[in-house]
Symmetry: C2
């Protein structure tokens, strides 16, 4: 049995959609058990609405909730009985194999590092975001966990990201690119210039060189490595530019009777097309390099997103991703040592 803990109190639609997502997950996959963490009465009331396989859904009481606008570090420190802290402690103690939350992202990042803890050998645990491209999906990391990273961190991100994309998302030989301001090898800031040759020397990843930001939405690489400040800017530009353009489009469509009529005609076709530009079917944003997978699903997640994220945690565990990460980092150390001897 794979055991996944779910923060039943996090996000805009808690606990309703969280509980429903958990119920759907255990109904879809036989060998998982979900631990729902949250306020007893609220969660029980939701659970009553469904029937689900005996013993596969367990309520773990937690009296506190970390709100979206709370200061991450303070919240994690002071709310010891919050659904988030309780859930991550389960992963740390090995009582759960993964943790899913739609709550406060900052608190989740802090808790991941301080409560769940890193795998031995991992220098920094990156926040990986699954971003849509015209060709499918790419993994951007670090999307916001550790600013001012060093070259060795970026190399580890590349290794962990490759393993994730190959074994969880199912891409063979994922192309690894480093975000840069040009594609020539001499381009870049100090960090990129130092990291580039290190990535080139990695024998266990398929490094394809620099990727300019403009090529990211077109699927120019499958694993996109960068420092967290840059990664966060990329992630938020996706949201911002996408949202602003679609907003303008809607406004334009509503501006005249003629265009309103046109909007009715194009709606089904556009809906179908934009489905390809939606990464949520691959699950939430994974934090890699921790003792168990921590997945952040967006704040307004519906049951279907929660189910997807739970199944993502299950695949992560089944595929032994953390064992593969350990092996890869050990191999990396071996390469490094060999190089130092020469």
């Amino acid at each position: 049995m794979i055991r996944i803990a779910v923060d039943a109190m996090g996000g805009d639609n808690a606990p309703g959609e969280l509980v429903k997502g958990a119920v759907d997950a255990v109904n879809r996959k036989d060998d998982i058990e979900v631990l729902l963490i949250g306020r007893e009465e609220a969660v029980t009331n939701e659970l009553k609405k469904y029937t689900c396989p005996e013993g596969r859904l367990q309520l773990i009481p937690a009296s506190e909730v970390i709100e979206t606008d709370e200061h991450p570090v303070n919240a994690i420190r002071s709310k010891k009985d919050s659904s988030m802290v309780v859930g991550m402690s389960l992963v740390r103690r090995g009582e759960a194999d993964g943790f899913v939350s739609a709550g406060n992202s900052g608190a989740l990042l802090v808790g991941g590092q301080t409560i769940v803890g890193r795998i031995k050998g991992v220098e920094r645990a990156p926040f990986g975001a699954l971003i849509p491209t015209t060709k499918g999906v790419a993994l951007l990391l670090d999307a916001g966990a550790n600013v001012d990273a060093r070259p060795s961190h970026l190399v580890q991100f590349a290794r962990m990201g490759s393993i994730y994309m190959e074994h969880v998302v199912g891409l063979s030989r994922p192309r690894v690119g480093i975000v840069n301001i040009g594609t020539e090898e001499e381009k870049g800031n100090a960090l990129v210039k130092e990291t580039f040759p290190l990535l080139k020397a990695c024998t266990d990843i398929h490094f394809t060189g620099s990727i300019e930001a403009r090529d990211i939405p077109y699927g120019g690489a499958d694993v996109i490595v960068c420092e967290a400040f840059t990664g966060n800017v990329i992630l938020k530009m996706y949201e911002g530019v996408g949202g602003a353009l679609l907003g303008l489009m809607k406004e334009g469509l509503m501006s005249s009777l003629r265009s309103k009529l046109g909007a009715l005609l194009i709606k089904p076709a556009l809906k179908e097309t934009f489905k390809t530009f939606d990464a949520s079917r691959y699950g939430g944003a994974p934090m890699l390099g921790l003792r168990g997978l921590v997945v952040k699903t967006h704040g307004n997640s519906k049951a279907v997103d929660v189910t997807q994220s739970i199944l993502q945690c299950a695949t992560f565990h089944e595929q032994g991703i953390n064992e593969k990460i350990k092996e890869s980092l050990d191999a990396g150390k071996g390469e490094q040592a060999a190089e130092n001897q020469i």
Copy 2:
């Protein structure tokens, strides 16, 4: 008379659209003179197509052309008789007040720094990009000229950008924001944390704090200050996300007879709406802090973009922007000295 030099050989539509743009500019504004720089025969052939006011359009011969894919530093060094090098030399010698080019951006940046040269007191000359927002236009700087900038550089960018947006674009009290990964004051990487209090202490700009990348397309600030690596990523994400979304949309619209019909109906309304999301009517990308304004207009510029960029150079000169920049930097130094005494 204001004299603007134009690189007649740069960009995909040279020399045709460049020459036409220059002709239109002198016809639109009485007190400017345009120096067209390029291969004599090619430019003369284009000039023959138009009539224009006597003596207001002058051809300056230059036998070489820097191609788009050439290595910037090598090209500037070796092609002394290229339209770009000749044009920038005119600005350096004070024989032209500004320079417009649609050619190799990298070469233009290098030439700006090495040929035109900086105003005394300017530590780094940033590349400013005018980006569209749902509220109008914003100036992003540095959009790619100087990676790994220091806090004092960012403060100068903020001052120069404010002056530009106020006196060239015509916004009163432009809001200055620093790109950050959160809006709380303690957020950010080392550079942002160090720069934030310095911007806060500037009395001559309207600093409104951090701006997250997602708020940039919605017009969250008028002058957006960041280090060049980040700025270049922002600029290219605009292109990439915008292009990918519009591409998908077109594909979706062409997918069925029904949606094709819808597309015909919505076209005029959308065309009108997207006009607001287009910064090109404000001219090309200005390089600030140089002895004269250097404007990069995009590679596939049409005559209308060239005209716009020439008029932008004229406004820059008329408004005495460089004198204002000098005053502002001197005032900044005064503030700094006063602070150091305390």
